[in-house]
Symmetry: C2
Subunit: 461 residues, 2 copies
């Protein structure tokens, strides 16, 4: 009977001493004259299994020629392993080559640079590092769905193609079916977009929030989880042109209620990964970020601080630190400030009530006339992990703000009207999924937590 | 203490006779001289709750003015309802208007046409029909994640932006940051795409399969679940330009194994929805598709037939039916044939081993030289719900087929090389999520199962 390694591990006592058949890939192959060892992985768990064979195999000579990367099937007896940290190994009775691997197979059992591995992104999940990262990506995605679904949220697929220009079209990709080389121009010298598939200019979006709010007004609690696009031409460790976002929206929920949800959700996801990715996290703790497991465990057990932006600035101003960027009541805070403030409180910090001029038009205006009911969550070792706000539910105030900020109102009339048809106090936040993954895995570069990353000048595969 | 309706329903005995507070929206409002009835929904469950109030309320006159669509909060005593099918109602002690609704609120308590409701897509989830449909959408999505995760699959976010031209770029949207009105042309008269963000032409993709196969070669079992785009200029009930797809890929799995998975997965999802959306399905059964619940229950209990394409053609040719399209061994089958064959077998039918010339290059070539190991699942009342195949794992055969079919090989060399680095028998399928939803809800038009549908000429909101 064919078995996955994860099945064997789950009930190892049942299989010890029994014959099993496995299918998977050769990670490493050490040959001696009369026997050999194959480091075997089938992808169903992080840990590989040692296969021991000897010259009693009919095809011993052929088996010795099996190269790293090859697909094989093995029948054998499962026995206790003498190796520390290994529960079992397989004494082979039959080894079959299913798929050969060429001599030039790029993933040889040695240390490869992450830069090199990005160039073979289609092979890198076969390495320990990326095997761990992308399994954690999958688990964290499931944790997010489980958290929201078990708390009664409705998952909404907001559209990616949009004609609403609300986030500033200069940050959005244009999408078209027109032939670039033969564009028809109108009398005004501009391209006639009425010839395009949607009859007008269309973009791929950077947020599902506005559509999410519409659904929160019907289901009370909703979340989105989908890909998002930005045209930013920045080649940094934290920027990608395609990434995934989670955007919950909750009706009848104020800023305090929102922070409760953010804290509970984050702890749920971290706990879920701690429970289910022990081997992966141990590997990452040893080879990528020392103290990773301790960092995550500490987060789960910490109480998140809540403090207003102006009080953060007070603390920063009083600090005995020579800042590169001087803290200011009317300004955003810099990376150095984020770091200081999470260290100051020795844990995650919700910073609330931001100066309205540096925040978006849809955020709830506070009574002071200067700030909005926005909240950023700063997490030690991660920086800003979530950004949210209570939304302005007052139609007149919202419209006034849109006019002040010169936002094009024509494409979002429908959104404004949500305030005229049973609007209510409501709040929402956005979390960049990759930022969470960088935090969960300790991997520093966003290119290394996305299966096939897209960055300026780089769209391989 | 504030409560969601779904919480009250879950433990109704605990709350009966108790004071509760609820927040939500007015679906309907019937006023008498000395009392009134509010049909109240908070979106946490399908069923609304009746609120009874009388002139003992301090603000009785104001409450009587509350319009349909308004957001309200109500404190009252939960009592048994005299109405059939209602577990409870609320005797109001306090009714507060939280958010007014204008007199012109489009969703009045009467029957609206689906065409009209598409024009107010941001409000339609407040109607019974769409409240049901989009909750089922959310539940079905969760069911899919649960099925695959609990069976050890890794969820992979394959890229949407791609420069690989493998599916035929004429079916893909082009994506760009260039200014249409000021495109720089090269000496050959063509637009200089090296100036674009990725340094070359880029598209949004119609499938994650190729990237999924790469990850299946590392994790054995993977699935994708994400948005997909097609430029098709068809205005039919089943076409949209943006929709969601599920694409699992499984290593060491042949066509029979694939059919096992498809059948098990589909039954799991249908069962999940039957269990968790009883009220929604009852509504849809009454008002949208009579017999819907029976149809779904029957599917769960049926054994799916497996039959080769040529044998299906035999049956069709022998049938005493005047076909609009004559069945042919070398051809695809038409809608009328799909319908006949599922009725013939009185249940879902896997049709296998299709003529190779009407199928994709990556499908496993059968020994007969004429067919490929492809499988379409035909479901009564849904037509083709999934399409899959064993993938060609033989490098030379795959390359030969690509050359025969004149597929541009240059952008998929990485994909071909998967066969050179430990390739193995593997299979995968694709399921259009909206097609599943049309089946699950009985709603006929794809525009009515997508929150904000995008179709040719139509990109509202």
């Amino acid at each position: 009977m064919k078995r996955d390694l994860v099945e064997i591990t789950r009930e190892v006592d049942k299989y010890l001493g029994e014959q099993v058949e496995v299918e998977g890939w050769v990670r490493n192959h050490r040959k001696q004259k009369e026997f050999g060892f194959i480091d075997f992985a089938d992808g169903t768990q992080f840990k590989s299994m040692q296969i021991v064979y000897d010259d009693k195999l009919d095809n011993f000579e052929d088996v010795q020629k099996i190269r790293v990367g090859s697909a094989i099937s093995v029948v054998g007896i499962l026995v206790k392993s003498p190796k520390e940290g290994q529960l079992y190994e397989l004494q082979a009775q039959e080894v079959k080559l299913l798929g050969d691997s060429l001599e030039n197979y790029p993933i040889q059992p040695k240390r490869h640079s992450r830069e090199f591995l990005r160039e073979v992104a289609y092979l890198r999940p076969r390495t320990n590092l990326f095997q761990a990262v992308f399994r954690i990506r999958s688990l964290a995605a499931m944790a997010i769905h489980e958290y929201f679904q078990s708390h009664g949220y409705v998952y909404v697929h907001t559209p990616l193609i949009t004609c609403a220009d609300c986030e500033g079209s200069d940050q959005m990709f244009k999408i078209t079916t027109l032939d670039f080389d033969n564009l028809e121009k109108g009398p005004d010298g501009k391209v006639d977009m009425s010839k395009d598939l949607f009859g007008k200019k269309a973009f791929v979006t950077g947020s599902g929030q506005l559509h999410g709010e519409a659904f929160a007004m019907a289901y009370k609690k909703i979340y989105t989880f989908g890909p998002t696009f930005r045209t930013e031409n920045s080649n940094t460790k934290t920027h990608a042109n395609e990434f995934w976002m989670i955007e919950p929206e909750i009706a009848f929920c104020d800023l305090n209620g929102l922070m409760d949800i953010e804290e509970e959700m984050l702890k749920y996801v971290v706990n879920y990964v701690l429970d289910r990715a022990k081997d992966e996290l141990e590997f990452l703790d040893s080879f990528v970020e020392n103290g990773l497991i301790e960092k995550l465990t500490k987060l789960v057990n910490s109480k998140f601080t809540r403090i207003a932006h102006r009080d953060v600035i007070d603390i920063l101003k009083k600090a005995d630190v020579k800042w590169e960027f001087e803290p200011d009541y009317g300004e955003d805070i810099a990376k150095e400030h984020e770091k200081y403030i999470t260290e100051y409180f020795n844990g995650p910090v919700f910073i609330t009530d931001w100066p309205k001029d540096i925040k978006a038009y849809y955020m709830k205006q506070n009574a002071d006339g200067k700030t909005v009911a926005a909240v950023d969550l700063e997490v030690p070792g991660a920086g800003e992990l979530m950004g949210g706000s209570q939304r302005e539910e007052d139609y007149d105030k919202l419209v006034r703000r849109i006019e002040e900020m010169k936002v094009d109102r024509s494409t979002i009339e429908w959104y404004l009207s949500l305030r005229q048809y049973g609007g209510c106090v409501h709040s929402g936040f956005g979390m960049g999924f990759e930022r969470l993954l960088i935090y969960l895995t300790g991997v520093e570069n966003i290119r290394d937590v996305i299966p096939f990353p897209r960055t300026p000048g780089s769209c391989l595969y």
